[in-house]
Symmetry: C2
Subunit: 255 residues, 2 copies
DNA sequence: ATACACCTTTACGCAGCGTCAAAGTCAACA
DNA sequence: TGTTGACTTTGACGCTGCGTAAAGGTGTAT
């Protein structure tokens, strides 16, 4: 049986370019060249190619393969052992690399956490200051100094984990509130869920919860334009809607 | 502080070619080009180069490094994680390769052993045949059929390990004998060591050892030209020398 | 003026092919 | 017989990350 490049290629699963290259580097020469210059391979070449591809599978360089398959006296096993050593070395290098990459990732994430923590600390401080600056006076008047200080202290002692939870809660309040607002019913399921979420959120800041205080705060959302602006920023009327929902939730008003 | 290519190169431990290449691919461009066309780097470039080299150490491709260091918003940690995945994949591939190489080596050695065993079996058979053909008649006459057959049987049952030991022993006999022959003294230490090694060697073939038989064999080495030729092939007179040494060793002759 | 160290651009080489491009060959079909 | 389409050939560039000249301009000290 005789083969042209493509036939041999498809037989062995390599490209014609590969066969031409192997001819070029002298690792697999065709049995003969026909009158038109075509490469013609025979059975011996098929066998040799199998061998070559076998060693190639093992990652041996074509140069080494050449030595192995062309010199019959060449110690193939020894060559393979040396190749194995090289592979082992490569593997060890890779392991070191991976370790270092891991370290770097850990460091980067560590810094991220640190940086987040710093941001968070800054955020907490700012929040307390804001509270003081914006609402300090009236809140202190309403609830007394001790409570406000305690609330601030709670805020400052909040762990990052708690902060994440409370941030997420705040988002949930917003989302649920937006959906509820679309229903237009402050006594509806969604609105009551929003009120409940709002209570949960509030409990992160308040040292003690009471329905009255909750309803009072809800009223303040409507009375104080700073809060109103915050809640109404997506949909005007949301602050009022939330107050109604909370008043129903706390039982201060009937549905 | 400003740096030319060489100064920056020696500072960072890279070649000037590398710096030019980094300029070429746009990963590290000099701060400015002076009037003579020289590349001039500043502190910012030193820092950037440090970063580049850091990622290079981790095996990241220059293309990826470019993305990491040029786009400030690019998620370096994410890129590193993806890189880590690639490294892990490479490592696994390597492990598979190593396994296959191991298998191949084991197979090859298995075949080698088989082939050696076959060779060895052939060798044993040939040795017995030779013994029969060459010396069978006279040895049978001298020592009787039973002993010769037993000797042959012992030979055929010799394991490969034993065969190696006996081959090595034969070599040692030759070496020691050559050294001893140079001293010219068959009663000397070396000659007596050679005689002793010869006895050990003999014991691999003989089912029972006696001083008389040993001395008799030694005499035969001189009488029979086939043996003489074997021992004298390096130095004429060696067979005779060995006989004398053995006769002294066995106490058949006084030093 | 000259030597010497430094700089520049240009370009080949490395491994193992992939991927055109231009041109010749072969069998079949109209 | 001409044409199409599948196949072949050689030749050459491209990929990575530089090493290593080669040929020529600069800077500074002697």
């Amino acid at each position: 049986m005789e083969y042209t490049v493509q036939k041999l290629g498809s037989l062995a699963g390599v490209s014609t370019r590969t066969l031409r290259y192997y001819d070029e580097i002298g690792i697999l020469k065709p049995a003969r060249i026909n009158s038109s210059g075509y490469r013609i391979y025979g059975q011996a070449e098929v066998d040799l190619l199998q061998q070559i591809l076998f060693y190639r599978e093992l990652g041996v360089s074509l140069d080494s393969i050449k030595e192995i398959v062309t010199a019959p006296s060449f110690d193939g096993a020894q060559a393979l052992k040396e190749h194995r050593e090289k592979l082992l070395e490569k593997k060890e290098q890779l392991e070191v690399l991976i370790k270092n990459v891991d370290k770097t990732i850990a460091l980067t994430e560590g810094r991220m956490k640190m940086s987040n923590k710093e941001k968070f600390e800054g955020f907490k401080k700012k929040m307390v200051d804001d509270n003081e600056g914006k609402y300090g006076k009236e809140i202190r008047e309403k609830y007394g100094n001790a409570k406000v200080d305690k609330s601030n202290a709670k805020l400052m002692n909040m762990t990052e984990e708690e902060h994440e939870r409370v941030t997420k809660l705040a988002e949930e309040v917003q989302e649920t509130l937006a959906l509820a607002f679309a229903t237009g019913d402050p006594a509806g399921e969604l609105a009551q869920k929003a009120a409940d979420l709002h209570k949960q959120w509030l409990c992160f800041y308040w040292t003690e919860y009471s329905k009255e205080a909750h309803a009072g705060l809800a009223q303040m959302y409507v009375d104080d334009e700073r809060f109103t602006a915050y809640y109404d920023k997506e949909q005007p009327g949301t602050a009022e809607f939330l107050r109604d929902a909370i008043q129903i939730y706390t039982g201060m008003k009937n549905a």
